[in-house]
């Protein structure tokens, strides 16, 4: 058993006939993900690429196919409803790729998924991949390789940068999770760190944070108190000015809180390895894998 997804993941894709949804549906199918259903209201009864049945609702899809995971590629105004639909339909994991979901929508979605006991990853995230087993989202499969490093990150391409460097250096990954760059998301660093700690395949963790909020500081405390496996951390945004939203809705320094310096300090205090540059992960992880 890997972290969050594995060979047994049966995926329903919400928005499978849209521009992004259809592109990534094919990518996931090529990677070997079990894509069992798609959802596009009004296209129920059709098939995607001649093989994947399309349904009008997630409830129908789950009932007919036993899907246990959903990935969402619908426009931002509909994303909150799509997440709740999936959670209500009985999947265990919902991954929302959509960027630009209003944060007030998330203040309502978050307690909803909690009440349903469903794990949400995202929104505004690249999804996750367990190399060689399953990919849910948009992380490019070819830059990953199976191996011992758990990767968790608030950003997309920065993750690719690090994963690519690790793979090129011959260091594979157990699971890579992009938790997303929004201020309110379904799964945080600690959730992932706990899962990596419990996962026998993971031997070390690479963690990429950003300015904004205090998630990284709390993660550092968790690492210090609960983790036996080594963790190497990085914080993007050391040169970011306060009060400006650096692309990600969540990457904003408010007042004196959420600076990179503060976060790096907490990493050091937790005894973590600290990467100053993305490429530093290679040597720091290598040293910790022994």
């Amino acid at each position: 058993m890997s972290v969050f997804i594995d060979k047994n993941t049966k995926l329903v894709i919400q928005g499978i006939t849209g521009r992004d949804g259809s592109f990534h549906a094919k990518q996931m199918m090529e990677y070997g993900t079990q894509v069992v259903a798609g959802v596009t209201p009004g296209k129920g009864g059709q098939k995607f690429e001649g093989t994947v049945p399309i349904f009008n609702t997630v409830a129908d899809a789950v009932k007919a196919t036993g899907a246990n995971t959903s990935v969402i590629y619908v426009p931002p105004p509909f994303a909150a409803d799509a997440i709740m639909e999936a959670a209500a339909a009985g999947v265990q994991l919902v991954v929302c790729i959509t960027e630009g979901v209003p944060v007030l929508d998330m203040t309502k979605v978050y307690p909803f998924v909690k009440e349903k006991g469903v794990r949400l990853i995202g929104p505004n995230c690249p999804g996750l991949i367990t190399p060689g087993e399953s990919k849910v989202g948009i992380i490019p499969g070819r830059i990953c390789a199976p191996g011992p490093v758990g990767v968790v990150s608030r950003s997309g391409t920065l993750t690719y940068e690090v994963v690519n460097a690790l793979t090129k250096a011959g260091i594979g990954q157990s699971t890579c999770v992009g938790i997303g760059g929004d201020p309110i998301n379904g799964t945080n660093f600690i959730d992932c760190l706990a899962a990596f700690e419990a996962d026998p395949k993971t031997k070390a963790v690479a963690m990429m944070g950003e300015i904004g909020g205090t998630d990284e500081q709390e993660a550092a405390t968790f690492i210090k108190e609960h983790m036996t496996k080594p963790v190497v951390g990085f914080i993007a945004g050391q040169t970011a000015p306060p009060g400006r939203r650096m692309g990600h809705a969540g990457a904003i320094i408010s007042g004196s809180a959420g600076t990179a310096a503060e976060k790096i300090e907490s990493f050091k205090a937790a005894g973590m390895g600290v990467a100053q540059r993305p490429v530093d992960f290679v040597e720091l992880i290598k040293a910790r894998l022994g």
Binding site: K108, S155, G156, A251
Partner: protein, 381 residues
């Protein structure tokens, strides 16, 4: 998105908040006319998206219309934190008995809107939070239930002992909350909330920051955007669907993805350079975006070198390469450019660039070092 005080007040008034009458003037004569109409002392207040207006001399008390004209003359055209004052709000001056602070933000930790209220109003709430945290009451709101009356009253009693004032304040909390939710805010505040000597509650200043992600579904709010009060390059970038933030350095950065863009800026700094901007072209690989990005960056005279850092996932690197070629053919570059590309269609991209006289590498650190050196040297590669 920031909106002006007068716009925030208009919204709050619509939800029933008691706010002194006021109108916007763009000339001293208009300010005088408005003050004449009110026939009482007024405040003339600079409308700019910057804090510390008062300290900068952008907020003045005026006893007479002539006084209002004079103060408006001084304030209009004034620079506050680099922004030119184009408008003033002329508003009836309230008698001030006591000042309180009432604000709501979306709190990441509780994942809820959270009220912050303090009887120490009129001053910077961050200072209160840092120095006398016990003077602030924090009340998270579960949006599924809204702001219950009992929580509104709890805040009212935190500010005022008198039950009538507490009840009136509680009502204002509920009005502010309704405005906050319906306007898609990430922040809304009344500071100061004033008790007049007559015992009336009045919102003397109001501020709202809107979540950009709400604007598509709130056209009336989106229409409040005042582009004249923003950095022109940032306005252009937004209209081209790019995320751009101007900084003071000389290495212009074009990156895909917010996290990688920040990491690239950090690496510029790491190697002794200074980034001129944050620029995220996003996940889609539209060559047009690259053209816009280059146009915006090259418009900054500080930029001495341009650095592209693209990790192709969804973004096709060949699209980016084509964008660079198109843009530089139309407007030849006057500063050197360093291109780092890797990922999707990397080989095609490299071929396009080479054929058009550009060189490119696939190594981020190497590219950043080169760009920093070029910016310092000021010479083409």
């Amino acid at each position: 998105m920031n909106i002006h005080e007068y716009q925030a007040k208009e919204i709050l008034r619509g939800y029933g908040v008691n706010i002194p009458p006021g109108e916007v003037a763009t000339t001293p004569a208009q300010a005088e006319a408005i003050a004449t109409k009110y026939g009482t002392a007024v405040m003339v207040k600079a409308q700019v998206h910057a804090g510390g207006r008062g300290k900068a001399g952008g907020v003045k008390f005026c006893k007479t219309p002539a006084d209002a004209k004079e103060k408006a003359t001084a304030i209009l055209g004034m620079q506050i934190k680099g922004l030119t004052v184009e408008k003033v709000l002329v508003t009836v001056a309230a008698d001030i008995g006591s000042e309180a602070y009432v604000g709501i933000i979306v709190d990441r930790a509780t994942k809820k809107p959270v009220f912050m209220v303090s009887a120490a109003g009129g001053i910077d709430i961050e200072q209160v939070a840092a120095e006398t945290p016990e003077k602030i009451l924090y009340v998270p709101v579960d949006v599924r239930y809204g702001l219950p009356t009992y929580d509104a009253m709890r805040m009212g009693f935190f500010l005022y002992d008198d039950v009538k004032l507490a009840r009136a304040a509680g009502k204002i909390m509920q009005q502010l909350y309704a405005a906050f939710m319906a306007s898609g805010c990430s922040l809304a505040e009344i500071n100061p909330l004033v008790v007049t000597p007559q015992g009336e509650l009045v919102a003397v200043d109001g501020k709202m920051v809107i979540d950009d992600n709400e604007l598509d579904r709130l056209p009336a709010i989106a229409a409040l955007r005042d582009e004249s009060s923003e950095e022109p390059s940032e306005v252009d970038a937004r209209n081209a669907n790019l995320t751009f933030i101007k900084l003071d350095g000389n290495v212009g950065c074009v990156v895909n993805g917010a996290g990688l863009a920040m990491a690239t800026m950090d690496l510029v700094k790491y190697y002794g350079g200074d980034p001129a901007n944050f620029l995220d072209i996003g996940g889609s690989s539209n060559p047009e975006k690259v053209v816009y990005a280059l146009r915006i960056i090259t418009a900054d005279p500080n930029v001495k070198a341009i650095l592209f850092n693209i990790f192709g996932g969804i973004t096709r690197t060949d699209d980016v390469a084509n964008g660079i070629v198109t843009a530089t053919k139309a407007n030849p570059l006057k500063v050197p450019i360093v291109i780092r590309l890797t990922g999707t269609n990397e080989e095609i991209a490299m071929k396009i660039l080479t054929e058009n006289g550009f060189s490119a590498s696939s190594d981020m650190d190497e590219a950043v070092q080169k760009a920093v050196a070029l910016a310092k040297g000021g010479k083409a590669a």
